[in-house]
Subunit: 309 residues, 2 copies
């Protein structure tokens, strides 16, 4: 695939994953154009201010719930990377209507705008939680996967759905949005103890955003056929207790007392233990370079200095 | 389960399946109350006019897209049977926005209204097409299944999802809405030839609405656990060609020339060949009494006399 001919639109491009995708794509693949589509004007401003600018970059403010803006943004686009979603599990539980509007209806708007422009390649971010969903986030992503599957079958464009476990990246996240930044913020406020949501035994797989992007671009070059669903992740998982240890170690805080809320999951709709089956992407020839612990450590090492007061 | 204590609300209760469900439930299970919820005032009127009235019946006009009406309808309800949907595959292709609004958002509204009333038993109609959907109807039903799965996991009520293949019933359907009524109408207009959408080799499983209801009520009495997905159907399938033969025979029209549009599926999003795996419901102890051919014949025999000019 000749990327120099492609016009790539990334929805949710100011989110931590979308931004990473745009950065790596620009640096390594040199597409003709990348359109940074997101509803967050402030974050778009921050990205520019942080020096993310290039003749091939276009910033476009729009909401996936707004078909008119999408229609305008998609002029000339050849590849869609759909990363926009109301992502956090608790956010979806507390705003179910917004979750459905954004993740399902929004997904449909995006796919339709792409189809109307004759886009023939669609990459969509999904989640391990879209399989037998136990929370609304998973349910809405399952709905979005269903729409992509249906549109693909009706219209024949090539689609890749990527199901991720937990993506970690060296980007300061809002307080409490990931387990890592949550721990750092709590320890900054009180370095004597750390409250852990759940029983600490929740174990999940972690992958860096950079490895995710690498796997996606690997898959779209290599996978034959028209509709693909790939689980992306590594072979192992990491407990919340171990993440707590790693954060405490990185912050140089000996003697922190760990406290637990004690429930099996950390919050309503949490998936206490899950490891993705990544056989398919491994068979295609891609394997995560980092273990879950290495991926989490990369994020901790990048985050801890940034979080110092 | 003591049905005499239950207040059952059926959404989509004026549709061919919902109506059948309400009729059989009333006749065989004598619940305390059945609420006929549907948006179609005319069809509710027709049902009453056809004599479907009883002290336990309540008619309620409302749209699943209208949470306020749902909230009012659900007062006192203990069992939900969610049968409302934009059902026909082509209708969903041509009205994708309405399909999503009705089948996904509407599904969510219904479940939320049920939860707010403390309903602990939810029966939902789904479709074989909700697995790896190849059309928007399947995609929206998959989204709705996802929501039920998520709400069940969050809130712990008991849910049964029933995936059907093709339901046939002795009810006059609008022209062209099922293959049987389509054939009858075409042959009434021109008894010399019959145009078959597709190549005639499409083979599907058929089950009568009465058998569906029977299987559902069997399953909710017998299945242990909180979230159930049952495929309902019979073991065999029937080709469109064979259905054409049966209709022609029933109408007493020798020498009809069969013509074909020739595509593999009958319309965009058609599933040319599909047979449901009904092992689970069979293992529970329920088995369809009729073959696909018998089920289709039941419908033909009921429909042909009704369609005579």
């Amino acid at each position: 695939m000749d990327w120099s001919e492609q016009v790539v639109l990334v929805t949710g491009a100011t989110g931590s994953f979308g931004r990473k995708f745009a950065e790596l794509m620009l640096r390594e693949y040199h597409p003709r154009k990348i359109i940074i589509f997101s509803r967050d004007e402030l974050k778009q401003h921050d990205m520019r201010a942080a020096g993310f600018d290039h003749p091939s970059l276009r910033y476009f403010i729009g909401d996936v719930r707004d078909p008119q803006r999408l229609e305008r943004a998609f002029a000339g686009v050849t590849v869609l990377v759909h990363a926009a979603a109301l992502k956090q599990v608790p956010a979806c539980e507390y705003n179910p209507f917004e979750a459905i509007q954004t993740n399902i209806m929004g997904g449909r708007n995006v796919i339709e705008a792409a189809i109307n422009q004759g886009v023939r390649r669609i990459l969509a971010l999904s989640t391990d939680k879209a399989v037998n969903p136990v929370n609304l986030y998973g349910a809405t992503k399952m709905g979005c996967e269903g729409l992509i599957s249906a549109f693909q079958s009706l219209l024949g464009m090539r689609c890749w759905i990527f199901r991720f476990a937990n993506i970690v990246g060296p980007k300061v996240r809002k307080r409490g949005r990931t387990v890592i930044s949550d721990f750092i913020h709590r320890l900054q406020q009180d370095s004597g103890k750390l409250l852990i949501l759940g029983n600490g035994k929740q174990a999940k797989s972690y992958l860096t955003a950079a490895e995710c992007v690498d796997a996606m671009l690997f898959a779209i070059e290599r996978a034959a056929g028209d509709l693909h669903v790939f689980n992306l992740g590594c072979d192992d998982s990491l407990t919340v207790d171990r993440i707590a240890e790693l954060v405490i170690e990185a912050m140089g805080l000996p003697g922190v007392k760990l406290e637990y809320t004690g429930t099996e999951g950390g919050w309503p709709g949490d998936v206490p233990r899950f490891k993705l089956d990544v056989t398919r992407i491994n068979r295609l020839g891609w394997k995560a370079k980092m273990t879950s612990e290495q991926a989490v450590n990369t994020a901790i090492e990048a985050l801890v200095p940034l979080c110092r007061p």
